[in-house]
Symmetry: C2
């Protein structure tokens, strides 16, 4: 037998009271920070009378960025930050067996981190009000830290990133979540960010524009349009919430097997392409567009702001055409709530498919096809009494311009969404989503936004 060492202290592999602590935060309608109404009003007022200015500019007006002579890729002169390149995708099993498109290439991993601290036994979450140029209302609530590596390694010589040290050395706190999560697979090539929840014990000075909120308060704010930004939502999807159903329509192992099967069923090949060679897309002075106009365009903006690390700058953004519809359909089976997940292929996913909402629809993408996406008509035509959750949220305002989507959770019965769904769909419980989101590349960013609403009881199924 190996000698037993008593010097090192063992710990429980899973901390048993975390879920209960999170539940206390969900139930707390007020906390040590501002009241929920104050936050909402303050954001709205701030956005109205701000000194931020975002203007569409021609690509020629970009400072430090241009289309490379050989590839036509839209790159920064430093070779860092992000660039816009092209991909060619083949997917024989999909509605589009083959296509080419521009895509953002940003190989560096950013940090999206929320600091957590108990006050009077109730966990609070530190969010900040901040401007992002692509947000329709500019100012939203962001995570404590939202920083690319270029940000915090000072490539663009800005101010220090506040609270960064808690996330660069998470050992100083207790880590509630720390996982690489994918970003939008239709717009980003294999991009992941580090999603972190770090709980601290000691004093934390609250900087200007930062505030401590309970999960209950954040859940309330998630019911409003464009208040909690995408990066905050994805981190909140990782809250170790207590969706602990013992039973489900599909055991966990069967669910993982179904996901593996879906990954194998789709034979997706992605090849990089110089932007200049991307077929069906046309570069103009102000934008790169699909011909005919469809999906999204690449455009550029100039930004003037007071509260960012850098006061003014220019940058390209992806501008989707029209407001999307992003919805989980939900049912109870034997009293246990389930949502209908879709194993969705996106060209930028590293693992072929991820679990997406039942409907994730961008207008214009399918209009020219004979078949409408499954469940889209059900969701759009649902009786208002069946809409359990509805709010308009925007995607990351640092990369996407006015990329808004109507997020919904819509109740169904057997007629609307059968217990045996069509291929590519599977009923899962919130607890199953929660256990998958501990690992990379299972749950896509749109589904994570809706999971954040469940974690904060913005909606209770």
């Amino acid at each position: 037998m190996t000698a037993t060492v008593t010097g090192a202290t063992l710990r429980r592999r899973v901390e048993p009271d975390t879920a209960a602590r999170m539940a206390r935060s969900v139930r707390a309608a007020t906390g040590v920070g501002p009241r929920t109404e104050e936050v909402a009003d303050w954001l709205a007022g701030h956005a109205a009378g701000n000194r931020f200015r975002v203007e569409r500019i021609p690509f020629a007006g970009l400072d430090g960025r241009s289309f490379a002579a050989d590839t036509g890729n839209l790159v920064h002169r430093s070779g860092r930050f992000f660039s816009i390149e092209g991909i060619h995708v083949t997917h024989p099993q999909g509605p589009f067996p083959e296509w080419q498109q521009p895509i953002i290439d940003q190989p560096e991993v950013g940090i999206l981190g929320i600091l957590v601290k108990e006050f009077d036994g109730i966990p609070h979450f530190l969010l900040q009000a901040k401007m992002e140029p692509g947000n329709p209302n500019l100012l939203q609530l962001l995570p404590t830290v939202q920083a690319t590596r270029s940000n915090y390694s000072k490539v663009h010589r800005g101010a220090d990133v506040k609270y960064l040290e808690y996330f660069l050395n998470p050992g100083t706190g207790s880590v509630l979540a720390d996982v690489l999560q994918s970003e939008h697979g239709s717009w980003f090539l294999r991009k992941v960010n580090r999603n972190m929840l770090v709980e601290v014990q000691g004093d934390v000075p609250v900087a200007e524009n930062f505030c401590w909120l309970t999960l209950g308060q954040i859940g309330e704010l998630l019911r409003r349009d464009n208040v909690v930004n995408m990066d905050a939502r994805t981190v909140l999807s990782c809250v170790p919430a207590g969706h602990d159903e013992d039973h489900a329509l599909h055991p966990d192992g069967e669910l993982r097997s179904w996901i593996t099967g879906e990954r194998c069923r789709h034979d997706v090949r992605v090849r990089r392409l110089p932007l200049a060679e991307v077929a069906d897309w046309k570069r103009g002075e102000w934008s790169v567009d699909h011909v005919p106009e469809r999906y999204f365009r690449v455009m550029a903006v100039s930004v003037e702001a007071g509260s960012r690390e850098v006061g003014s700058w220019t940058q390209p953004l992806i501008e989707p055409l029209g407001t999307g519809v992003t919805s989980f359909v939900t049912r109870r089976f034997d009293g246990v709530p389930h949502v209908l997940a879709h194993a969705r292929v996106e060209g930028g996913f590293a693992d072929t498919v991820e679990l997406a909402p039942t409907v994730q629809h961008t207008p214009g993408n399918y209009q020219h096809l004979a078949d409408r996406p499954p469940f889209l008509d059900y969701v759009l035509g649902a009786d208002p009494g069946r809409i359990r959750y509805e709010a308009v949220h925007s995607e990351e305002g640092g990369r996407f311009y006015h990329a808004q989507s109507r997020y919904l959770i819509v109740e169904a019965d057997e007629a609307g969404a059968p217990a045996q769904p069509p291929p590519g769909y599977c009923w899962v419980t919130p607890g199953q989503l929660s256990s998958l989101v501990r690992h990379s590349r299972y749950v896509n960013v749109q589904a994570r936004s809706l999971l954040a609403c469940l974690n904060t009881a913005s909606v209770t199924l």
Copy 2:
């Protein structure tokens, strides 16, 4: 509230008696199939008097494969199967900040599946004796099904793959494991195979060269050199064994956070390269070699065999130089066994690092460097009484030629392997490895081989 539907039957998310059933199979020294000695002798005898012939040939002797005129890639005329291409890797944090190398590109996902069936309450596993050209002893025990998609979709017009239907439609049985696992990241570009354990209830006719074995029998066979092949080992690493420690040096969340941190700490960029442009490698008539000779070579063989789907063929193989050393160092902390995992970078990994054994050393790779890999000298110099497990195993004989490694599990104390190991290393329990191996890309193929030894009680820590 959502209406409750009673039509659909819920099931437990985790089947509670699976681990106990696996434990019964581990304790079973005999089963309904051949005795362990018979299997070993039969394999040894068969290999001695076989009609298999594997001969090294020049590349010009390859049938259907040649170096493409433009890229120099070694490709099949069908555009399918696998090809040998090149990559350029940058890794500023590593011992080699930058390198180029040939690599196997095989984007299709193969199936590695073992059929499981209870006899008298004891789960048995269906293995087959089969020849692979790269195996030093040719004949080893393989999974029930070991097939590339080209195999089973008949690109090379061979015979049917036996038992394939159980894995193509896993719904006919109960799925014990089904997960995409990475292959060798030093030799394969982002390759994964589908590792499956499917349990069936009904009668299963046992074809020639197939036999039912208990986990206890397989554990006994794993103590012998070159009997259980790599593909069987990786599937066996996924057995839902009952390593259920409640306590560990690092809670599960902290372990996942450490892995995420290691993935972020290493900034690895991989770019495809035509084989003709790979620096420091020279193409000859019989092989592609590093200059000076190091790491591995690409070579070709002709094969004649009776028991394969195709009677004779030619193919390229990767031939590493020399026998490797692959070892976990193990300690007990407060009575709980741990192994020391290494967060290892390999150029072909999709997620930068995976958990590897403490030592995974190929001779020649580091000889020209000043620093020896950590723990290598400890493992090589360990007192024989501390060697808890030792056997020579080979890697996949369908792609690698005589790729042998001495697999070891070596006991240590604080002097040999401190409780606070150097950066890049972390103590984990077998149960933690088991829970990670349910998901893709956490545990590399070499560590999975050693986990298979733990799952089958080939060694008890």
